[in-house]
Amino acid sequence: MTSHLLIRVALRSAAVGYVLVLIFLPLAALAQQSVAAGWDRFIQDLTAPQASAALWLTIETAAIATAINAVFGTLSALVLVRYEFPGRWLLNALVDLPFAIPTLVAGLMIAAIYGPTSILGTWLQQGGLTVLYNQPGIILAMLFVTMPFTIRSLQPVLMGLERDQEEAAFTLGASPWTTFWKVTVPSVLPGLLTGVFLTFVRALGEFGSIVIVAGNIPMKTQVASVYVYGEIESYNPQAATSVSVLILLISFVVLLLLERLTRRPGERLPKLFHWSNRADRPGHEAAMPTAAQ
């Protein structure tokens, strides 16, 4: 018993310590540094025209990228889970590519396709749409690096969603459209929210690909992370820290919100991040085979 207790305490301390050392300490150090010079300085740093422009641009483009990826990610996940077609395995493997390649390389790829010397870039330019060194370029870069989030968060929940729930809705008179909105979407909502929120915070912090495609024109196409980098380069760590802390704060609030939203009372936790086996739930004695099995 004692040795069990010891192991349990040791395991928990290790987990807590790990998070503390890796995440909390650097965060605290940064936060401390940002307010060390006083609140006024912090507010000043954030309200500097170039800083606030960068922050707004980042939030706007991240929101647009998130919305686009939510819709197309959901469609892609549905297609990948529900339909058999030649090359599905290849498509499924490609989804993870943005995780695997350096973001700088992602930026280079986008620059190569949409650059002023490329066919597509020239054609779009003639149509009045400048992608590179412009906001669409930033959004494209964000879309590329965040593409896996929605798809990968939704896939397991979609596979776990038994087809018979949708069929049950049909037998009760619901049309396929109603069934999609009333049964499919609510059932996968925790997964969808997870994907959407992760996409947003990841897009907020993206640097490598954007620095290549955005052109980084202050007040126009300079995002927050690039601004931070610029301030560090020009020996202004205080401003860099302040903007960083704000970005962190937004991300943190978004993640807390996600945690709350996906943990509504009575609602099941999304399987992706919570493996806790809740013995206090009644009804666990009955096996519930899923369609994925």
Partner: protein, 365 residues
């Protein structure tokens, strides 16, 4: 309302899941579709519901051909094997789902759900989520949800398949009571012959997408129309022999088989309780050795081996067993008091279905 299917066929790829099935479920009946897994019984249920499209054949509900109606338009209640409850909705909202789709007003919905919660002994559970319920409760919610919009027929796929043995027994009794109360035409699928026997008013036995026999539980048990039914339902000794001068000869056993040509191979089946055993070697004409004694709780099963190497099962009630003093390995005498000649697979199941006909009947020891 009455359900009728005529020549129903469903092909998946090159295999026939259902091959030309016709039967009727009478108004207010509780009918069980019984068969081993993969026999096509679930497909039949899904075809009636409109969840599958038949390759050929017709489906009638209340005399109306429903082939061209979508699942939404057929007004059926369907209970899925694994409940298929909406996990993100409370018990109340699960049951109300169909009513909201049909645009009932709020007061009527509340009243109907309350009524069903009471009927299903689910009072006070309306606010729970499916994962907060036991297996038996989930199943009752599933039935309540299916019944809520007042379907014309209730279809249930292995309704007790996913709950444990004790809950299952309770649910069976509860379903029979519910059916007696509501009297809605119900069709359920099961692979459990005991369940089919106990719950159904009538049973349809399926094998390999074909209808083997339809009848009351007693009919199907006592008068199996095919070898498959005989083997699938209950326990039966099945022996094979060749007809000689109007008798099927199986070693030293002889079964009258008038009307069958000499040299024909026939199968004879008899239930274990029609095999009588005595310690006294002179009591019955046939001799055997007692190989095993099994205690079954309500009775004993004795396994004997004839000099020809035939192994037969006999069933004996406790009182009778106690009067004898059987020892494994001892010599016994036995007789088969009733038997049936079984139609071969693929032959007409009408053969020998009449009790007392020359090919089925009591034997004098």
């Amino acid at each position: 309302m009455k359900i009728e299917v005529r020549g129903l066929t469903k092909t998946f790829g090159s295999s026939n899941a259902v091959g030309g099935v016709s039967f009727v479920v009478n108004e207010g009946e509780l009918l069980g579709l019984l068969g081993p897994s993969g026999s096509g019984k679930t497909t039949v249920l899904r075809l009636i519901a409109g969840l599958e499209v038949p390759t050929s054949g017709d489906i009638f509900i209340d005399g109306k051909r429903v082939n061209d109606l979508t699942v939404q338009e057929r007004n059926i209640g369907f209970v899925f094997q694994h409940y298929a409850l909406f996990k993100h909705l409370t018990v109340f909202d699960n049951i109300a789902f169909g009513l909201k789709i049909k645009k009932w007003n709020r007061r009527d919905i509340e009243q109907r759900v309350a009524e069903l919660l009471a009927l299903m002994s689910l009072d006070g559970l309306g606010g729970r989520y499916p994962h907060q319920l036991s297996g038996g409760q989930r199943q009752r919610v599933a039935i309540a949800r299916a019944l809520a919009p007042r379907p014309s027929v209730l279809l249930m796929d292995e309704p007790f398949g996913a709950v444990d043995a004790k809950v299952r027994q309770e649910l069976r009794e509860w379903l029979i009571r519910l059916h007696t109360d509501l009297n809605v035409t119900s069709l359920f699928v099961t692979h459990d012959q005991e369940e089919a026997m106990e719950v159904s008013g009538r049973i349809i036995v399926f094998s390999k997408g074909k209808l083997e026999q339809a009848g009351s539980p007693a009919d199907v048990y006592e008068e199996p129309a095919t070898e498959f039914v005989a083997r699938f339902i209950g326990s039966m000794n099945i022996v094979e022999g060749i007809v000689r001068r109007g008798q099927v000869q199986v070693g030293s056993l002889e079964f009258p088989a008038t009307g069958f040509a000499d040299g024909q191979k026939l199968q004879v089946g008899f239930r274990p309780y029609y095999v009588k055993i005595a310690e006294d070697p002179a009591r019955y004409r046939q001799q055997a050795k007692l190989r095993h004694i099994y205690f079954l709780g309500v009775a004993y099963r004795l396994e004997i081996e004839t000099p020809d190497g035939l192994i037969l099962r006999s069933r004996m009630n406790k009182e009778e067993f106690r009067r004898c003093h059987f020892i494994v390995g001892q010599a016994v005498s036995f007789a088969v008091t009733h038997f049936r000649i079984l139609p071969r697979e693929g032959t007409s199941p009408s053969l020998g279905t009449e009790s007392g006909s020359p090919i089925a009947g009591p034997l004098t020891p």
